[in-house]
Amino acid sequence: MREAEVVIVGGGPAGLTAALESAAAGADVVLIDEYLTLGGQYYKQVPDGFTLKSAKAEGAEFGEGTEILEHLRASKVETLLGTLVWDILDERTLAVYRGDTTERIRARHLILAPGAQEVPVAFPGWTLPGVLMGGAAQALMVSQRLLPGRRVVLAGAGPLQLKVASQFVEAGAEVVDVLEASSKPPMSMENALRAFGHWGKMREGLEYWLKLKKAGAPYHPHQVPVRALGNGELEAVVVAEVDADWRVIPGTERTLEADTLCLSYGFLPSTQLPRLAGCRIVFEAESGGWVTQHDANQETSVAGVYVAGEVGGIGGADVAEEEGRVAAIAALRALGKVPADGLRKQEEKSRARLAEARKFAGLTRDMMRLKPALFDLMTDDTIVCRCEDISVQAVRAALADGEPTLRGVKIRTRAGMGCCQGRMCGHLIARLIAQQTGASLDRIDLDTPRPPVKPIPLSALAAGVDL
């Protein structure tokens, strides 16, 4: 079994800075990512085989990503791409799947930076091809250089969808409408005042906003899509106005012809790996729900296991990068790679930047906080579990019939037993439990993750030499 002083899971902003900081101090570092390109969802790169005619034409964020990845390639970090961590045994031993086989990697210090997934919001028709999440649209446009549709409706909460909408405009799509569920549009005076001082972010937001205005794209606060329509694929979206609590106002429906509906309702921390490592998970509504508890050094309740980035609470890329650095410095000190008070200056700088970044993150998170009525859009026939085609009605019947828990629903309906292992339906079922029992979300436990955290072929398990 191979061993490394620092093993980092996840090659997004958090994992990249953690890896660079650790390697700079002379630790032997293994960086693992499930995808074939580093950068995560934030520093998306074009795939190998594609060549940019001008790197400069891609903008600042793309350039930052390219620069970090160049540093990484020049460093001594050992990078394992296309590698899935499918289990964590005795806290810091990883079972990984790569190249059709499995092996174990022992970490003296483990930094988990798996990021987040987007919040699925269900309504009738949301499973139709043509309805996709903001992250999918971005992966296709920014990395794959493919425009997924021509007439696009965007919907969600918070400023991220302005960015996705402007990317659609830039790619030549017609943005039919941008719907913001919140009654506070991202550009409101109140939000502008709270963002005071975060000039870079404000400028970025304003650029997106102006691009949309220039393209003549309509923008509607307090509106949501209530139904997606189409014979086999998306053809139209029915949208409606909502009140301050996001309750649909009857009689306000209108129908928009569109081939693409792009949803950006915020993020859920991907806590499967920390849970397998035995880390304590806590509910923080303001940080995206269930998050991995950590101390000021990013260390979790399990000694030697750290988290960085979204998995410890939704905060965005700037927060993630500084958390990655703070976690790495703590691990390096514990390893004796630097003196106990070493890297003090870097740490101070990092903590100051972290405090600033967290302030801004607090603002965007407030805008993305979903109100419970959004989940009243689910009708009896709406599919909740996309893997197993389980409807709201079936889940409600199961809730009435027995233990009102995710586990109970899973046993009675199979919801959550499919390939995604509850990543899509789990939080929707939690909302249905909340509706039915009146319990608050922090009282509704997540289902326990089981290895493998994502499906791997049985042949790979059989081929695993040291398992």
Binding site: E34, Y35, L36, Q41, V46, P47, D48, G49, F50, T51, L52, K53, S54, A57, E58, Q117, E118, P120, T127, L128, P129, G130, V131, L132, M133, G135, A136, A137, Q138, A139, L140, M141, Q144, R145, L146, L147, P148, G149, R150, R151, A171, G172, G232, E233, D259, T260, I383, R386, C387, D389, G418, C419, C420, R423, M424, K454, P455, P457
Partner: protein, 96 residues
């Protein structure tokens, strides 16, 4: 065709083209593309139908989380959104 996804050309050069066979029909793709991008660019937005209900599904999360974009490649069920194309790949959107 209305709604057909489209490869973007601004500021990008694609490398070698490869041929992928989808349900018996050859489509052109480029090295580095995901199978999902190649399928979309060929005008296919429906990647499979669920069993037994028969609901159509395509790309949803796009980052390997939801498993909606499953297709069959050489007998294995794989996520089209995170799988790069290979020359000669045999893809089925109808096997389940």
């Amino acid at each position: 065709m209305k709604g057909t996804p489209q490869r973007l050309t601004r500021n990008i050069e694609r490398g070698c083209s490869v041929t992928v066979t989808v349900d018996g029909h050859p489509i052109v793709a480029y090295q580095g593309e995901t199978l999902a991008a190649a399928l979309l660019a060929s005008g296919r937005r429906t990647f499979r139908h669920t069993v037994p209900a028969g609901h159509p599904r395509g790309v949803f999360c796009g980052i390997g989380v939801c498993f909606d974009c499953l297709v069959t490649v050489d007998g294995s069920r794989i996520r089209a959104c995170v799988t790069p194309v290979r020359d000669g790949m045999q893809v089925s959107t109808t096997e389940n």
